[in-house]
């Protein structure tokens, strides 16, 4: 398999004494779909915040593509090829769906500080943006303001925006939360498709989706790894079964 694309080594994150993630070792193998599951409050989103540098780890190291990124800024992370989505859908609310994707595509341009240059020139990005919207089934809604889209469609838009950056590693935080059955299936198919030439790390509560999509699963509880393996191994693990008992999980 070669070297993992992402490694967390002994990473701990404490918030004012409360340890959200404790001494975590996690390897994500290149080209896989890796699921991170666990009860609410287990620290899954915190893991995302740590590897994307939105939070600074209290201790430990984070290595991406062989490079130590522990001291990087969050805006550097996307440039290195790791892009995240957010648990609470993150779109640019006042902008149209097309403009949401287009602004992500601007990342590859060198005129982003050119305040004298008309944004009409960005129309040359429209074809690429529309094909990305098409991939998530949003092309027909491209002129709608993001704020006006139904929740499931907003998540799809966020995914299209993430894909616009052609990341090597995609971090998806509950990409299907709040989606209807049809959207879930479409999104699962999309994730499988984009994962052909990328790595995906995903937090997801829908266990049938997890079982279906992921090559490897890490179960997190109270900031520590409870179990790791494929779905067959993890679902039979007594510790995992116990952790999921009595919680309000589907």
């Amino acid at each position: 398999m070669g070297e993992p694309i992402l490694r967390m080594q002994g990473v701990t994150k404490a918030f004012a004494g409360f340890v959200a993630v404790r001494d975590l070792d996690l390897d994500i193998a290149r080209g896989t779909i890796h699921a991170l599951i666990g009860p609410n409050g287990a620290g899954k989103t915190t893991v995302f915040n740590l590897v994307t540098k939105f939070h600074q780890p209290t201790s430990g190291r984070i290595i991406f593509k062989g490079q130590d990124i522990t001291a990087k800024k969050p805006s550097d992370i996307a440039r290195l090829g790791m892009v995240r989505s957010f648990q609470i859908s993150a779109v640019f609310a006042s902008m149209s769906a097309l403009d949401n994707v287009r602004v992500a595509l601007q990342r590859f341009r060198s005129d982003n500080f050119a305040f004298w240059k008309s944004d009409r020139i960005l129309r040359e990005l429209d074809d690429r943006a529309r094909s990305l919207l098409n991939e998530v089934g949003l092309d027909a809604l491209r002129d709608r303001k993001a704020a006006e889209l139904p929740y499931g469609r907003r998540r799809a838009l966020e995914l299209a925006t993430t894909l616009a950056l052609e990341p090597e590693l995609l971090l998806l935080d509950e990409p299907m939360a709040g989606m209807g059955h049809e959207d879930v299936e479409r999104t699962a198919a999309l994730i499988r498709r984009v994962a052909k030439d990328r790595t995906v790390l995903m937090v997801e509560h829908n266990l049938s989706v997890v079982a279906d999509l992921s090559d490897r699963i890490t179960v997190l509880a109270r900031g520590e790894i409870l179990a790791e393996g494929d779905y067959g191994q993890v679902s039979k693990d007594p510790a995992v079964i116990e952790a999921y008992m009595g919680t309000d999980h589907d």
Partner: protein
């Protein structure tokens, strides 16, 4: 798609044409210096709105850039005897430089903390203006010579002064419109809508916000420098916190984030100040009262409400 009123929209074109006729015709009906004052403060408010509207950053210290440029331009004209355009340029450069330093310090803060830091920095400028040798302390700089525009047009002629100010105003407004509709403006908008998301896409939000801050400070400086020359005066009032407050008032009254809102707000505030000055009424209390009424009645400001109403009327017509 909801059409946003822009220059390509026929109704908006009509509006802009109407505004142009009014601005060109106004000096034949109103006192020239009064109109010039309105334009200076309107530009001040529009430039302030560039930061508030496109970045969501509420600065409480924009008088610092207005006043600093006023002093520098006034000094350049009075002591160094430089031509009008050079005085404006120096004023703009001074406020841009100040904006770079202050912006760098304050941009990392959000909301009320940002407002407080900008206020504190502006109070420092006020203190300097009071203490430095070249600002004339309590008297300020007076009898600043106006000189000639383009070396040809005598600015002591009030009509020339008005039209020169109008040209500067229209030019600056065009630039502001371009900034908000530029490749840079798109990213600014994304950052305003959702900063963490913009960062996670790889945009260094603080650098974009800093550039917006500096552009805003520079354009405010243009207003301040022109004001100093037009009124032959740069005083402590220009750097006083109440001036920062009054520009916020103008912007919110007119409608923040709209191109013309700050202009309408400035027109109202300057007009009120002018009429109330002779009435013996407490000016600030009256303006404050009107402000509260406006906020309660039309939250989006006057132009903002008008735009929303127009858009509503249009979407009824064409569902």
């Amino acid at each position: 798609m909801t059409p946003t009123p822009g220059p390509r929209d026929p109704l908006a074109l009509l509006l802009y044409a109407g505004a142009a006729v009014l601005l060109v015709g106004a000096p034949f009906f109103f006192y020239h210096l009064f109109l010039t004052k309105v334009l200076c403060y309107a530009l001040f408010a529009c430039a302030f709105n560039l930061l508030l509207g496109s970045c969501g950053l509420l600065s409480f210290g924009h008088a610092a850039y207005f006043g600093a440029a006023a002093y520098v331009a006034g000094h350049a004209a009075k002591v160094w005897g430089l031509p009008f355009e050079a005085c404006l340029a120096l004023g703009v450069m001074a406020s841009a430089l100040l904006g770079t330093i202050f912006g760098y310090i304050s941009i990392r803060r959000q909301g009320i903390y940002f407002a407080m830091i900008t206020l504190a920095l502006a109070q420092m400028v006020y203190f300097l203006a009071l203490q430095l040798p070249f600002t004339g302390a309590e008297d300020g700089l007076t009898a600043i010579p106006r000189g000639k525009a383009l070396g040809l047009f005598e600015l002591d002629n009030p009509l020339v002064l008005y039209f020169s100010t109008l040209c500067i105003f229209v030019g600056a407004l065009t630039l502001i419109h371009r900034i908000t509709h530029s490749t840079f403006g798109q990213i600014l908008r994304a950052i305003r809508d959702n900063e963490p998301r913009a960062i996670s896409l790889g945009f260094e939000a603080n650098r974009y916000k800093l550039q917006a801050f500096v552009l805003s400070a520079a354009l405010v400086g243009l207003a301040g420098a022109n004001k100093a020359i037009a009124f032959k005066l740069a005083t402590l009032t220009d750097v006083h916190w109440s001036t920062s407050g009054s520009v916020i008032l103008m912007t919110l009254l007119g409608g923040l984030g709209t191109l013309l809102g700050p202009f309408v707000g400035a027109l109202m505030v300057v007009t009120l100040e002018n009429y109330l000055a002779d009435s013996g009424l407490p000016i600030n209390a009256v303006i404050g009262g009107i402000f509260i009424l406006c906020i309660l009645l039309f939250r989006r400001g006057i132009v903002g409400e008008a735009q929303a109403w127009l858009e509503g009327a249009r979407s009824h017509k064409a569902p």
